[in-house]
Structure formats: structure tokens, C-alpha cells
Amino acid sequence: MTDHIILVSQDEAGRAAEWRARRSTKTYRGRASFTLMLSALTCLVVAASAQHIGSYAVSQGVSPVAASLPGMIAALVAALVLVMAASAFLKSLAAGRQEDVHTARLLGDEASTRSWKALAWTGALLIVTAGAWFMVVNDAAVSRTFFDLVLIRDSAGKVLRAFGTNILIFSVSAVLILVWALVIALARTLPGAAGRPLRVLAIAYGDLFRGLPAIITIYLIGFGLPLTNLPFLSDLSSTSYAIIALTLTYGAYTSEIYRAGIEGVHHSQVAAARSLGLSHVKTMRYVVVPLAVRNIIPPLMNNCISLQKDTALVAIIGAIDAFNQAKIIAANNFNLSAVTTVAILFIAVTIPQARIVDKLSERDRRRMRAGG
């Protein structure tokens, strides 16, 4: 007896009966009824809001079709959600009445899933409705200030042209940063005592420029270098100063990303490369850095997006980028809609990149799973 870890009862039939007696069916009645009530309420709120906001828009000269269409869509969605919630509630009722356990479970499960879906849609509808109200309250102050369509249209050309400066600064510094940061990261991962002086220098650089706010670096370089009377360095354009400052700042951040990638390469890969006779440099060049770069594409691209946005900081040294141009227009018209144009531009160039990052990292993840 004592040589069993556990002694299982011999009464198989009894245990089976006990197990079956304990089974139960969840009908999700509470969730279904709550969802039904909430979605009914939402339906009313959405309909009333659509009516009110639509007629206000018409009174402001928006064409009746354009004014009522969003409201009608919202109301339609709300009605559909109400139907979904009602059907969930009915399923739940049916699950309670059902004799057959398996059918009842199936119904209960559907009631649960539909309730969750209806709840999620209800939440989304309420948020969108709140947003719509925010735009029109106080005699549409928000819409007028940020979304003056006429001003947006008229200023778009000028702002777009100035946005070219942002793109120039971004592209040149992105390339410089990728190279410069790798140099710093390699210096930081130099092995042995001989590597120490350069390691220390790289660490000092990283600490300094990660600590300095980008806006201060830009300010110091943009206004400071011209005062030094150094040949070449003191008479560059403000765009060039911006590129230098951003490269220094982002080089520090990006080198940390590279370093994390380099140190994240499994040591067995290094052992494999070294055992084939590859030197430290060749191991870095052909194995570690290529692997590291693949692992860090997402953070690298996120850095890129962040860099793109920080090109707007160059406005403080007087470079006429999109933001600066928009600020001038905004000051002349007492209206921020031109700045909204800039915002839209930045968002429009960022979103595709975010999608590319997702695609790239997914593809590489699949490949990297093997090998180890």
C-alpha cells in the first residue's frame, strides 16, 4: 500500500455519477439583461444626439446630406447592436429552458459571446457620440478652432511645401543615425581591457546625450555653433544644424537599441562562429550584427517615427519647417487649423510605417524561431 503516491478509489461508477451530478449550465442571464438595457439606452442617446447635432450642422450651412449621414449611420449601428443584445438575451432565456445539457451549453455560450460583442459596440458608440458632442458644444468652438475647412484648404500648399524640410531633415539624419549609432554600439561592446578606453568614451557619450532634452541640444547647436566662428561649422544652414543635433541625440538612444540587440544574440551563435575560426570582427560583421538588426527592427522603426515627429522641434532655431510655417499662418488668422494640417501630415506619414514594422517583424520572427 505504501508504495503508491496516491491511491485512487475503485468505485468507478460512483465517481462518474458524482461527476455528472455536479455539472451545470451557465445561462449568462445577468450579463445578457444588463447588455440589453444598456444598448437600449445607447440607442436612444445616439438617436437623440444624431438628431440634435445634425440639425445644428444644417443651421451652420452644411449640406443636409453631409450633416445627417454620420448620424444616420450611427443610429443604424446602434439599432443593430440593440438587436444583437436582444438576441443574446433570448438565447440566454432559451438556455435556461432547454432540457438537453449540450444544447443548453451551446445556447449559453452564444448568449455570452453576443453579450460581450454588443457591450463592446455599445462602448464604442458612446465614445464616438461623446466625441461628436465635444465638437459642437459651445457653438462649435472646437470645430471652428481646429477644423476650419476653408483655412485648411488654403494653407495646405504652403504647409506641404514646408513639410519638405521636415522630410529632408528626417531622411538625412535617419541614415546618419543608423550608421553613427552602430559605431557607438560596437565601441560599447568592444571586448577585453584594450577596448576599455573606447567603451568608456561611448558610455559617456550615451549618458550625456540621453540626458540632454532634444530641444536643448537643438538650441545649443543651432544658436551656439554659428557663434564659434569655426570654419565650416559656423556657417551651415539651420537645417544642417538640426540634422547634426538630431543625429547626436538619437544616436545615443539608437546605440542603446543596437546594444540590446547585440547582447541579445544568443552566445551559442557566437560560439558557433568563433569555433569556425571567424575573428571577433568577422563574427560581429557576419553573424551578430545581422541577427541583432533583425531583432531590433521594431524598436528601431519606433525610434524612426519618434525622430520624424521631433523634426518639428527645429522650429525653435528658426528653420521654416511645416510646424513653423503653420504657426505663422495660425498667428495671422487667429485660428489653429493650419496646425491641424501639420498634425494630419505627420500622422499620415507615420501610419504606413507602423504597418510596415508589424509586417517586417512578423516575417523575421517566423524565420528566427529556428536555429537558436
Binding site: S268, A271, L276, L278, R294, R367, M368, A370, G371
Partner: protein
């Protein structure tokens, strides 16, 4: 003179003595199997021979030439000593072909064409030419390990170290890897194998060394060690293998 002389080698990690006062000579064309319980120092010993690990004292000589201590050209040394690891360690960002030609082209300066021809000849011998342009993740464990062996053979090593190369493989894939090792042994390659495949060790080894706590506890021809072990520890180890159905 022996090809490899391991002479009173000790290896410590901090205070843990993993290899202690270990001596072993390996003749040219000899196949030596290291067996012993997990953690007895088999991997560490192999890694010391191509200096992926530094020994703490003693010395290792190849053809009578000391390869431990400062001033040894490690990259040069490792060209001539191949090692294959338990986890294959193929480079995941390179195709099979790129994995195999990396070292010959970048270390030996062989032309890409020549290296590819040589690699394809090897791949043909192990029936993997159709995988030449695939990435390692498209290969089974057995196929990856065969490629790893080819990658080592591309450097035409004079000594091959094999560290439990079948331990990570599903049982039905083991034999395809062992076939290559058998072939290499027949071709006269000097090899040191750490292995748990006793049947294979019996067949292919000239000598089996049973390691215990970083020392050679018992060594001799396979028939003696596996059939009629003298030492108590050896007997206990083989008994536990037999119980687990591995012998």
C-alpha cells in the same frame, strides 16, 4: 606522438572544479567516446580543446605543440578543429548553403564559387542538395544537425569534436546523423564524441572514457567498458542507463 595530449588539465568556474587534473592522449585516426552522467564535464572538456573555454591549469598540446596559454592564434587553431554542438547552432539568418560557405570564404579566402561547389558535393553526400537554399527553420532537427556537421567539415578539420549531437533529436532522426559520423570514422577522421548513445559508442569508438567528477574514472575498449566495467561508478551509471532502456 599523439595528435592531442591533454595533460593534467584543471578547469574551474569560480570555486567549482569542473575538470580536475585530467589527462588523456588521443592518437591520430582515433575515435574516443566520452560518457558519463550529466554535469560530469564532457562539454566543458570539448570546449577547452578548441579554447572556447580557458583552462585554469595544465596544458593541451596538438602534434606536440602547446595550444593553451597566451599568444596562441585562436582563429588559426579553430580552423583546424571542428566542433558540432548539441543545439546545431546554425545561423538562422543564412540559408543552408550560406551557413556552409561562410567560414571557407571569409576565413580561408576561398572563392564563393569554389566554396559552393564543395558545399554542394557535401550536401549531395548527405542527400540535402534540395535544401541548399532553405533557411534552417525549414529543416528538421536531423537535417539541421547534418548541415552543422557539413559546416564543420567544410574547413577540413584535423580533429572533430562532437558534443551530444543527437541529444536534441527525435529518436527516428538519430540514425541519419549517426550514419555520417560512422562514415567519418571509417574515413579516418579523428574524433572526440560526448554521447549517450551507448550502442553507437560500442560500434564506432576505439576507446570509451567514463568521466566522473571531471576525471577519467575508467577507460578502455568499448567491449570492456560496456560489457565488463570494473569501477563501481561505471557499473552504477550503466545500470541506470539500462533501467531507462537506453542500453
Amino acid at each position: 606522438m599523439a595528435l592531442v595530449e591533454i595533460d593534467h588539465v584543471t578547469k574551474r568556474y569560480d570555486h567549482l572544479e569542473v575538470i580536475s587534473d585530467f589527462s588523456l592522449d588521443i592518437e591520430e585516426h582515433e575515435v574516443i567516446c566520452l560518457i558519463g552522467p550529466s554535469g560530469c564535464g564532457k562539454s566543458t572538456l570539448l570546449r577547452c580543446v578548441n579554447r572556447l573555454e580557458e583552462i585554469s591549469s595544465g596544458e593541451i598540446r596538438i602534434h606536440g605543440d602547446r595550444i593553451t596559454g597566451p599568444g596562441v592564434d585562436l582563429d588559426r587553431l579553430r580552423r583546424d578543429i571542428g566542433i558540432v554542438f548539441q543545439g546545431y547552432n546554425l545561423f538562422p539568418h543564412m540559408t543552408v548553403l550560406e551557413n556552409t560557405i561562410l567560414a571557407p570564404t571569409k576565413v580561408l579566402g576561398m572563392s564563393r564559387r569554389e566554396a559552393e561547389e564543395k558545399a554542394m558535393a557535401f550536401l549531395e553526400r548527405i542527400a540535402l542538395t534540395h535544401k541548399a537554399n532553405d533557411y534552417p527553420d525549414r529543416l528538421s532537427g536531423g537535417q539541421q544537425q547534418r548541415v552543422a556537421i557539413v559546416r564543420a567539415l567544410m574547413m577540413e578539420p584535423m580533429l572533430l569534436l562532437l558534443d551530444e549531437i543527437t541529444s536534441a533529436l527525435d529518436p527516428e532522426l538519430v540514425s541519419e546523423v549517426l550514419d555520417i559520423v560512422r562514415d567519418l570514422a571509417a574515413g579516418g577522421m579523428t574524433m572526440i564524441l560526448a554521447t549517450h548513445e551507448m550502442g553507437f559508442a560500442r560500434e564506432v569508438a576505439d576507446r570509451i572514457c567514463f568521466l566522473q567528477a571531471g576525471k577519467v574514472y575508467e577507460q578502455g575498449p568499448p567491449a570492456d567498458i560496456l560489457g565488463n566495467p570494473q569501477g563501481e561508478r561505471t557499473q552504477a551509471f550503466l545500470r541506470s542507463l539500462r533501467k531507462a532502456g537506453r542500453l
